[in-house]
Symmetry: C2
Subunit: 251 residues, 2 copies
């Protein structure tokens, strides 16, 4: 008898990078939750953003099944990675198992997430302050990455979060850094998108900066660019952005 | 105190039609299942087709989480309806709660589903006969339709299945009817796609016919066209297709 085949490959840095890009570069995901009462597995669609530590964030209505589900059982999973043209299963996707935490409306976290979420989803400004809407922070527990046929990987939650002593400082710096870049270096975002995202469009704006990378937005497109290493001191940001511009010019 | 708002609208024929089109015209869906052992809600992606009675069909690998999940607990839900451009939540989608039944490889159902599945997903021919792959028929139980902001509907399973005394006869007739239409009336599929699906492409082929409508395929595109009424006698098919052609010419 043959030994059972283990279809899971050993996780390498390329797999980790793909996993992070799928999660951090998403505009939406399919969420699976447990319906209250029956425990039925329920799939639906949510808009997503990420917090400064890489945890996904969703904004959901109190009238939805998923909000009452998470109130009863905080476990969820999020499927990131949308198929484009061709075989839907040839496109990479990741299932992230998460806990979830409802963010109180008067908290510092709410202010931070509200700003980052609207930067990514400008139309959410229309309903973000409706009393029945709430943010949930989804804590990564583990993940199943499928990079296409025969490319399956299992990842731990801490491989998908951003760990740095500079997270709080960077979060404080973020709004002014974005404003500065989009005003005084308005061509940088287009150069980043061209060099690192193979985009031919112009009109890109930076919509998020954290210790692991930056988010670019252009109408309905979103592009995640990861730094080559995590920023450990917010003072390094200016240098990191200048390095990126240098790399972009040489591409 | 205000009475609680009921966000669910009364289901009308337009909602039912939208729901059926989302399910029957899909190439893939997000599936939510319960992970064995933990009961964790797990979301992933599956290719979909439909059986002749409208039940969704999936083809999944025995190595996947969802196969072992369905073996332990047959409950699942399928999220159909992919966002295009613009706000992802402005696009209609439906969550279909289902039971599931593994289809034995030597059954008549397997032969029927294999043929219909490959007609919709030609690349699946590469792995459909691998010993670890199996078809599951997903029995519709109920559904939550979201047609966009404020357009929520609850549907029963029997509003989403195809009920007709002609189902078996039509299934028998299907292969020869498809062959006849694609060979002897090769322009009909393009005319249907133009008239009823607003397609400007040519090269459409009929890939499925059942008592409620037909499926057109063109490379990676799929288009579902529903008849104005259910066929109750397989002998009506020729007339129904001729009527469709007449309607298409007048559009």
């Amino acid at each position: 008898m043959k030994p059972p085949v283990n279809p899971i490959r050993e996780t390498d840095e390329e797999a980790r990078r793909l996993a992070r890009r799928l999660i951090r570069g998403a505009r939406f995901a399919a969420i699976a939750v447990l319906e209250p009462g029956t425990g039925f597995p329920f799939a639906s669609r949510v808009l997503t953003a990420i917090d400064t530590d890489g945890a996904p964030v969703i904004l959901i209505s109190g009238l939805s099944v998923h909000t009452s589900a998470l109130a009863a059982d905080s476990r969820a999973s999020l499927l990131f990675g949308e198929p484009g043209k061709g075989d839907p299963l040839a496109h990479p996707r990741i299932t992230l198992r998460t806990g979830s935490e409802r963010i109180a409306r008067d908290s510092d976290a709410h202010l931070r997430l509200r700003t980052r979420f609207i930067a990514r989803h400008p139309k959410a400004a229309l309903y973000v302050d409706f009393p029945d809407f709430a943010f949930f922070r989804m804590t990564p527990l583990s993940a199943s990455l499928n990079g296409g046929f025969g490319k399956a990987f299992a990842l731990e939650g801490d491989e998908l979060t951003i760990s740095s002593p500079a997270i709080a400082d960077m979060a404080e710096l973020e709004p002014s850094a974005i404003e500065h870049m989009n005003s005084d270096h308005a061509d940088a975002a287009d150069a980043y998108a061209r060099a690192f995202g193979k985009s031919r469009k112009s009109g890109w704006k930076i919509c998020g900066i954290d210790c692991a990378g930056l988010d670019l937005a252009n109408q309905d497109d979103l592009l995640r660019i990861e730094f080559d290493e995590i920023i450990k001191d917010a003072g390094q940001l200016r240098r990191k952005l200048a390095d990126l511009s240098g790399l972009a010019r040489r591409k």
